[in-house]
Symmetry: C2
């Protein structure tokens, strides 16, 4: 992971590391989806050919913003605007690949301090300009699309200049960080002091600390390290009516926890300008290993025991039968050790792959690993060895890179995720799979459990279906609607770690009820009376 790499404008990740489809995936496309991966790829415009509407930012406003952040940091050139048109969701990329940047912001503004953020908000509130906070730009739910709400113009407030590790309180193990710092960059800076945050979503190379907090994210190791909401100890947020500073103590009974109102607020209440994060000593030891369970249901029982009886591993990823089959097909060409494990797993019909990982001191890793291994073996899981775990580790950030060649091949490819209590998980699993099949014909639907809690777990789905050129967004929409309705219907949450953004608005009423929504809307009206903060996200009209 190069923590400073640029991001492709029309796809995922470092342009220097574009992925190709391996033979396993090619076989899957041919056999299951009837797609010829060797056919001519779908058309894709060049950056210079993207149509950007003229900026509607009034000249006076451009000057006023320039007075605040410096004229060079108010950019209205096409490339700057195209690159902040939206996030990295499937529809975002479909539009850009077509050359459609209709939603490009009217300007990109890069403040260099909390005071500048505050002044920008004040100016935009006064003149009625929407403000869309932009961190790593990795939202997959439309969270950074430059919607204008009822306003004439919108700016992308790019936090890319606010990248300092401001302070590390080594006694309290709290790091104070600016919002624009990428997760991977933060890990490098903390690593120099022997510390870690341990927050590693698949987007960690690009996603920023402010984005983590604003979207209430979880990372691959959150079963052990905790979600970002567990790791946030305090924050500072600039709002149009003034500053919010929260987090005086590690815990408090002084009323509702407003920190948890700010976490997950997705830019609609204001802009996070500083975050206090709980950090830990960097792990001395890491151990990742594979297990095979006889079925997904068996695996669920085993990992529930891990979560409830403990000690839980830091990383747990249980793939269902379909994901296991696809994973095995992909890693066939890998190292011998992994291969042996894989073959052992294959001998079990319909078996499921379980990856578990431990990080910490050598003793802690050894003790927890031993206890978990005893528990898993006692529940009939079969040890596949470290090769499988290490193969997962090597490829852990590569998933999103595969999307671009899949889209080139004409595949509708998307992920969605949810969570529920253990008692509802099988029903939720069946409901989402059923909904996707109904919406998409006979898609490939892969699923894994990636985050464990004592009372429940998350489900992460990846689905692939052939799609005709021009119909991508309509079919995607149909799939999202079907899956969202299924999730809401069986009582799951509409998002476990991707956030609400634009895509999940229709299910917010099911999520928190009309009374919950009215409380949220009231809080927004108090902090952002003009309604300029990220309109069209989080809160349905």
């Amino acid at each position: 992971v190069d923590e400073r790499a640029p991001m492709a404008w029309d796809g995922w990740g470092d342009p220097a590391r574009r992925a190709v489809l391996g033979p396993g995936v090619q076989r899957l496309l041919r056999r299951r989806l009837g797609i010829d991966p060797d056919a001519d790829p779908r058309s894709r415009v060049r950056l210079a050919a993207v149509a950007v509407p003229p900026s509607r930012l009034p000249e006076g406003m451009q000057n006023r913003l320039g007075d605040i952040v410096g004229p060079a940091e108010v950019r209205t050139d096409d490339e700057s605007r195209i690159r902040r048109t939206g996030g990295k969701g499937y529809p975002d990329l479909v539009r850009l690949r077509r050359g459609d940047a209709a939603h490009a912001p009217d300007a990109v503004v890069r403040p260099g301090s909390h005071a500048q953020v505050r002044d920008v908000l004040e100016a935009c509130a006064e003149h009625g300009v929407a403000v869309v906070p932009f961190g790593g730009g990795t939202s997959v739910v439309g969270g950074v699309e430059a919607l204008r709400g009822g306003f004439e113009a919108a700016i992308a407030l790019d936090l890319g200049l606010l990248t300092e590790l401001v302070d590390v309180d080594e006694t309290s193990l709290v790091a104070t960080v600016q919002p624009g710092l990428r997760g991977a960059e933060l890990e490098v800076l903390l690593g120099e002091r022997g510390l870690t945050l341990g927050h590693v979503p698949q987007s960690v190379q690009y996603a920023t600390v402010g984005g983590f907090v604003a979207t209430r994210s979880a990372g691959q190791a959150s079963t052990g390290y905790g979600r970002i909401d567990d790791l946030v100890e305090g924050l500072r947020m600039a709002t149009p009516v003034g500053d919010l500073r929260l987090g005086r103590a590690p815990a408090s009974a002084a009323g509702p926890d407003l920190l948890q109102l700010a976490v997950g607020s997705e830019g609609v209440l204001g802009v996070i300008t500083e975050v206090d994060l709980r950090v830990r000593p960097a792990p001395q030891a890491r151990r990742y290993e594979g297990w095979a369970t006889a079925s997904f249901a068996d695996g669920l029982r085993a990992i529930r025991a891990l979560a409830q009886e403990g000690p839980a591993p830091d990383i747990v990823r249980l793939s269902d039968e379909e994901e296991t089959a696809v994973t095995l097909a992909q890693v066939t060409g890998a190292k011998a050790l992994a291969l042996r494990g894989v073959l052992a797993a294959r001998r079990r019909r319909g078996g499921c792959l379980l990856v578990v990982g431990y990080e910490g001191t050598a003793r802690d890793v050894r003790d927890r690993r031993r206890a978990a291994a005893r528990l898993l073996a006692g529940r009939g899981a079969r040890h596949l060895g470290r090769g499988v775990g290490e193969a997962w580790e090597r490829h852990r950030y590569e998933g999103p890179y595969l999307r671009d060649p899949l889209m080139d091949a004409g595949v509708l490819v998307e992920t969605l995720e949810t969570a529920a209590r253990w008692s509802a998980l099988s029903q939720l699993y069946a409901a989402v799979r059923g909904a996707l099949r109904t919406a998409l014909g006979d898609p490939v639907v892969l699923c894994h459990v990636s985050h464990l809690y004592p009372t429940g777990a998350s489900l992460y789905f990846t689905f692939l279906a052939p799609v005709a050129e021009g119909e991508e967004i309509a079919r995607w929409q149909a799939a999202k609607e079907a899956a969202g309705a299924a999730i809401a219907g069986v009582g799951g949450t509409i998002s476990h770690h991707h956030a609400v953004g634009r895509d999940h608005l229709p299910w917010m009423a099911a999520e928190v009820g009309e009374v919950g929504l009215s409380a949220l809307r009231a809080a927004k009206a108090a902090l952002d009376p003009a309604g300029i903060c990220n309109p069209g996200k989080l809160l349905p009209e």
Copy 2:
């Protein structure tokens, strides 16, 4: 603990179990405070002599409430009203002992269902009657005082009929509980199924589940089991504008966590009518033991290592030098085992007592105990054995019982608590002690750390000072103001687990800022537009 015992109307706890001052405390009063504990006790009126103002509840309203809950559950007799005048804070008791029940509610209403709670709120909103939710009545911050706000009348909404364990989801380990169930009663019901909540504040004999959640409480074992905010998985709240149902999944990224807006809302947003709580298998083994550290500062370093390097015990209580001395004086007469430990501790000049406790499976207790013992011994703490821990365990709920005879003896006796990050804890400790000395002359100030977090800890102060009859509330007020200003001044939280109530209103602006307050006020206005829900609490005017 008798989980169904009645509560003294003018003091703490089971009237059958009134405490007497032991020789150690008597000596302390004589030597340090110049008080003769054998002198005539302070005067205390009988229940029949308490002055209760006439009920101002309009007759029409009484009938309407009677239509909702049944006429027998709308009580306006003196005793019912006196018993819901306030909580169990020092000023509450001072007033009642004098026969002052000026703040008695105009009626006590006991709903039997969620629907009845909702209908009561609707009726009261329509007619402008304040509603004060009343659970165990154990608030020590004025949280259940029947303030009227701008209204003519106030009712105490007593939740004493809502005491069901509604459901236990054994797969997800989630118990659904009605709000009026006492903590100790819940433990009995869960115990019958081999489960526990593990939430044991000192008030657990009387305090209710709804009160735990509404006040964001912590219990003696919260270092291990987590605070109530960690244990709440969902809830149902009746508000004047409709129902709020939260908690679809163990974790979610669907916007701000509104559950954490409801937890700690202290009745000002509505009335909690059902709570989903994370439960666990009841511990097979418990082990409590004492350690001695050379000083409070040394002890802080040792327990910080427990919290940050782990595994932390479930119960950690480190007393400062003064509290250690008083504790040792009290237990002199106890069993030989405890005595031997105590004597060993005394040999260290200025030593501090540390009680740690482990609960869980036998193996888990053994493993964690071994690791923690290694860590403590490595930091110079001396093992005092199980006798000291078991003595703490035997007396763990008795503290509040001592207050009544202390008040009889003319002692101003109060507790207050706060929390901060580890790096600020010593400064916070010094600031509060200094403030109490300034306000009260030469009080006895005892302190212990009772809850550990990786990033900080709580401080719990008990202070005693002589007070002239008639001056109790003025001196108490002076002490609270001095301590509150000190806490706010060094950045601690105004309450770690007692809540805001009426007493901590002046520091809410320091706690969450004016912007935070405006968000809270807006949420209240949305859910309780008439402002009938527990006026005068949590939110300063």
